[in-house]
């Protein structure tokens, strides 16, 4: 579960996030949609405790992002489009490295790696290759596998399909629905409306650091006469 209340982030002269609030329930995929520079990545980084909010509050899996950052990180996985893993390590070594931070060792680690590999359609033999020898899509799957290895309650995906080919993108979208089906809480941040339409249960439109719309996917589609993209553009134009 995620609870965000009046969350703000300011840099010296810029207010990147100007007080947004939303909740995401377990088993739900929440689409955080907005143009580039709207504040999506900053919001997710605050939820992942990578950035400190300058106002408001947020709880992830019941833990406060400012006061309990380590507990938050233990219950959260994050993937963004620019995120990479160590290219000189093999896929297995990468997962071993990150798994060890969540007390995953030996048979338990192997079991989790097998689980993640199956969920993401990663051939076990690929894991023995160094990451730099893998395709971009496979590298992104390793990035995601790293984020879900500890089966976090909350998964944040930020432009996670950037740079992926059609097959890898398809596998990722399927995975999002599957992971939500396990009762997990997901935030899916993107500017690609078709993806959001496919995987999200509820959506929030963010622009200039403000949430200008929040509702179910159905409500958003109605607002755009059956098109999420139209709803998005209308709402942002109204807010401007």
């Amino acid at each position: 579960m995620i609870e965000v209340v009046d969350l703000q982030k300011s840099y010296q002269k810029t207010q990147a996030v100007r007080g947004i609030s939303f909740r995401v329930q377990p088993g739900e995929v929440y689409g955080l949609l907005g143009p580039n520079g709207a504040g999506k990545t900053t919001t997710l980084r605050m939820l992942a405790t990578l950035l400190k909010p300058t106002g408001g509050s947020a709880k992830v899996a019941g833990f406060d992002v400012v006061r309990q950052p380590l507990e938050v990180r233990r219950n959260l996985g994050i993937v963004n489009g620019g995120m990479k893993v160590y290219d000189k390590l093999t896929g297995y070594e990468v997962l071993d490295f990150f798994g060890s931070f969540y007390d995953l060792w030996g048979p338990k680690l192997k079991e989790r790696i097998a689980w993640a590999a199956e969920l993401l359609h990663i051939e076990p033999s690929v894991l023995s290759k160094q990451v730099r020898q893998m395709s971009t899509g496979m590298q992104q799957k390793i990035v995601i596998a790293r984020a879900i290895l500890h089966q976090p309650q909350v998964l944040l995906l930020d432009e996670a399909t950037a740079g992926l080919d059609v097959f890898a993108r398809r596998a990722l979208l399927d995975f999002v629905r599957q992971y939500a089906g396990l009762g997990k809480t997901l935030v899916y941040s993107t500017h690609v409306m078709s993806e959001a339409e496919e995987v999200c249960d509820r959506v929030g439109f963010i622009d200039h650091g403000l949430l200008v719309f929040e509702g179910s996917l159905q409500e958003a589609l109605e607002l755009g006469s059956g098109s999420l993209e139209r709803a998005f553009i209308r709402r942002l134009e109204q807010a401007a």
């Binding site: 405790t49 990578l50 400190k52 959260l76 996985g77 995120m83 990479k84 931070f101």
Partner: protein, 399 residues
């Protein structure tokens, strides 16, 4: 603690997979040390010996026949020339000798000191003239019934009174601190930059920061990996240094003696390149090196974190190298300085000076304790600054 080791292991694993870095850090110092230390001197010694043994042309103007004969005996070939200055400048001859109004004038290309073939040939001509002069003086004294011993009423012998440690380190004493400092820095640099700026540039740092590991442990893990590589590189350079010193002392001493005799060095010059310290001396060197490594590693990590890219980080560390090289250059002249205890509180300078006095067996307790305390304080400050940098969002997400 566990997380620190896990992170350090990962960093080292990445290095092991990068054969180029591994070679440059661990193998190259062993191979390059003999070349750096003794290559130029051996090469020059060899060239000097060849110059001694072979025959070179010497331009002559108005030189008497007896002197010409003396030159030939010294394996020189006198050739008559018109303009000695031009002939030497144009390299028609390596040296030229002019006799005019009872005075010999010797021409050579001497702007590069003794490190030129012309200077060596000038040395040969001078030696031939000295031999001729001594013979003429001896003959004239004998004609007057005086023995040549009158010219040498006493003999002069120079003895090296430096300590056993100084003799072992020899004329290369200052190179030992130089290489220790340089290899501590250069050994840790690739790992430090890859673990910081490299991670930012490649987009791997964010995934690590999102793991449930305190920043302090991430920093210490990376620092530990840099420390290991730094120390391994230093050990490799020391092995190279000691091996090359041993090889030269045992197998190439003769060649170097030729060079010393040509250069006119007085007494027994210790080539050195070795260490002859008691266990406490070795421990002192080790402790100084470890503390210096802590300081340099913290500075490297701070710079690496601040930089947006690996290249930007390299430009910062280039400047850092200058800060370490300058004190080492001055170390060559440390014998002319009256060492004050407060010198040993100056950052980097103190490490270089401390290593120098340890290698020479001349360290005092005050000097060493001041160096260690000051370096530990500087290292602590640098670690704190690195940690603060790591906490700053504008630094970590600066790319």
């Amino acid at each position: 603690m566990n997380e620190i080791l896990i992170i350090a292991r990962k960093e080292l694993l990445s290095v092991v997979r990068e054969r180029r870095v591994l070679f440059n850090t661990l193998v190259l110092p062993i191979l390059i040390m003999p070349l750096l230390m003794f290559g130029p001197i051996l090469l020059f010694g060899n060239a000097a010996r060849q110059t001694q043994e072979s025959v070179q042309k010497v331009g002559v103007v108005g030189v008497p026949a007896a002197v010409l004969e003396e030159l030939r005996k010294a394996r020189l070939e006198p050739v008559q020339i018109a303009d000695p200055q031009t002939a030497v400048q144009n390299r028609e001859v390596q040296a030229a000798l002019v006799f005019e109004n009872g005075r010999y004038t010797l021409y050579g290309r001497l702007s590069r000191g003794t490190a030129s073939q012309s200077a060596l040939v000038v040395g040969k001509v001078q030696a031939a003239l000295r031999a001729y002069k001594d013979r003429v003086v001896a003959e004239q004294l004998r004609a007057r019934g005086i023995g040549p011993d009158i010219l040498e009423p006493f003999s002069i012998e120079t003895k090296d009174a430096s300590s056993a440690q100084e003799q072992a380190a020899g004329v290369f004493a200052f190179l030992i601190p130089f290489f220790l400092v340089m290899f501590i820095q250069s050994g840790g640099m690739p790992v430090a930059l890859d673990a910081t700026a490299g991670e930012k540039e490649k987009g791997t740092l964010e995934a690590l920061l999102a793991a449930p590991v305190p920043l302090s442990q991430i920093l210490l893990g990376k620092g530990l990996a840099v420390f290991v590589m730094s120390m391994l590189s230093t050990i490799a350079s020391l092995v190279g240094l000691l091996l090359s010193g041993g090889v030269v002392r045992n197998f190439l001493a003769g060649r170097l003696q030729t060079l010393q005799s040509i250069q006119g060095g007085g007494g027994e010059v210790q080539l050195g390149g070795g260490l002859a310290l008691d266990p406490l001396g070795y421990l002192s060197i080790l402790l100084t090196a470890v503390l210096f490594a802590l300081l340099i590693i913290a500075v490297l990590i701070s710079l690496g974190l601040y930089a947006r890219t690996f290249k930007e980080a390299q430009s910062y560390t280039g400047l850092l190298s200058l800060f370490t090289i300058i004190p080492i250059l001055f170390l060559q002249f440390s014998d002319f300085l009256k060492l004050q205890d407060w010198f040993f509180a100056l950052p980097i300078v103190n490490v270089v000076l401390a290593m120098d006095v340890i290698v020479r067996g001349a360290a005092t307790a005050t000097q060493l304790l001041t160096t260690w305390a000051a370096t530990l304080a500087y290292a602590g400050l640098a670690v704190y600054l690195a940690y603060r940098s790591f906490q700053r969002e504008d630094v970590v997400f600066r790319n």
